[in-house]
C-alpha cells in the first residue's frame, strides 16, 4: 500500500484484507456453512478492489461533488419513472394474459430495468455536462 494513499482508502483496503483473511480462516479452520466464508471473501475482495480503484481515480479529491450528485439524483429519478412504466406494462401484459409472468421474472426485469436505465441516464448526462 502506498504511503501517499489517502487514509480513507487505506482503511478501506485494510478492512477488506481483514475480512478476506477472516473468510479464508473460516473456510480452512472452522466447520461453518460455506456461504459464510464465500460472503466474507466476496465482501473483502470488493472492499479491496473498490479501495484501490477509488484511490487511483480520485486520490485526495472528492468522490462526489455537486455536479455528480445532481446528475446521479436526476438519473435515478428518470430511472424510477421508466421502471414504473415497465411495471405498468408488465401488469397489463399479465392482466390480459399476453404473457404469464412469475415473481422471479418480475423481480429480475425490475432489477435490470433500474440498473440499466440509471446507468444509461448517468452516462448520457455526464457526457452532456448537465441535466438541463
Amino acid at each position: 500500500m502506498s504511503a501517499n494513499m489517502p487514509k480513507k482508502y487505506r482503511n478501506r483496503i485494510l478492512a477488506g484484507t481483514l475480512i478476506l483473511l477472516a473468510g479464508i480462516f473460516v473456510e480452512i479452520f472452522m466447520e461453518l456453512d460455506q456461504a459464510i466464508s464465500i460472503s466474507l471473501v466476496t465482501m473483502g475482495t470488493i472492499l479491496i478492489l473498490f479501495g484501490i480503484l477509488y484511490a487511483l481515480r480520485y486520490g485526495e479529491g472528492p468522490v462526489q461533488d455537486e455536479w455528480s450528485r445532481k446528475i446521479g439524483s436526476i438519473s435515478l429519478s428518470y430511472s424510477w419513472v421508466i421502471t414504473f412504466f415497465v411495471l405498468t406494462g408488465m401488469f397489463w401484459v399479465n392482466y390480459f394474459e399476453i404473457l404469464s409472468l412469475d415473481v422471479n421474472s418480475v423481480i429480475g426485469i425490475v432489477f435490470f430495468a433500474m440498473i440499466i436505465t440509471a446507468n444509461l441516464f448517468q452516462f448520457y448526462f455526464k457526457r452532456k455536462g448537465d441535466v438541463e
Binding site: E60, P62, K126, G129, D130, E132
Partner: protein
C-alpha cells in the same frame, strides 16, 4: 452560457485539478464549467469567483437564450 474561468485560471497559472481541489469539486466539474455546459450552484460560482479574484457576473456571461 460563457465563462472566463479558463482565461483567469491561466492568468493565475492554475490547472483544472488545482482549481478543483481548492474549491472542493472534481476536475470534470471545472472542465464542464469552463465549456459553459454546467450550470453551477450559487455557492460553487461564488467559490470559483473568489478564487479567481473576480465577481460572479464577471465570470459567467449569460446571453438571452440562456435565460429562457
Amino acid at each position: 452560457m460563457k465563462t472566463r474561468i479558463k482565461e483567469l485560471r491561466a492568468r493565475y497559472d492554475l490547472t483544472q485539478q488545482q482549481l478543483a481541489d481548492i474549491v472542493g469539486v472534481r476536475r470534470e466539474t471545472i472542465g464542464f464549467l469552463e465549456k459553459g455546459k454546467y450550470n453551477p450552484s450559487l455557492k460553487l460560482a461564488y467559490k470559483v469567483s473568489i478564487e479567481l479574484q473576480t465577481t460572479i457576473d464577471d465570470l459567467f456571461i449569460f446571453e438571452d437564450d440562456d435565460l429562457e
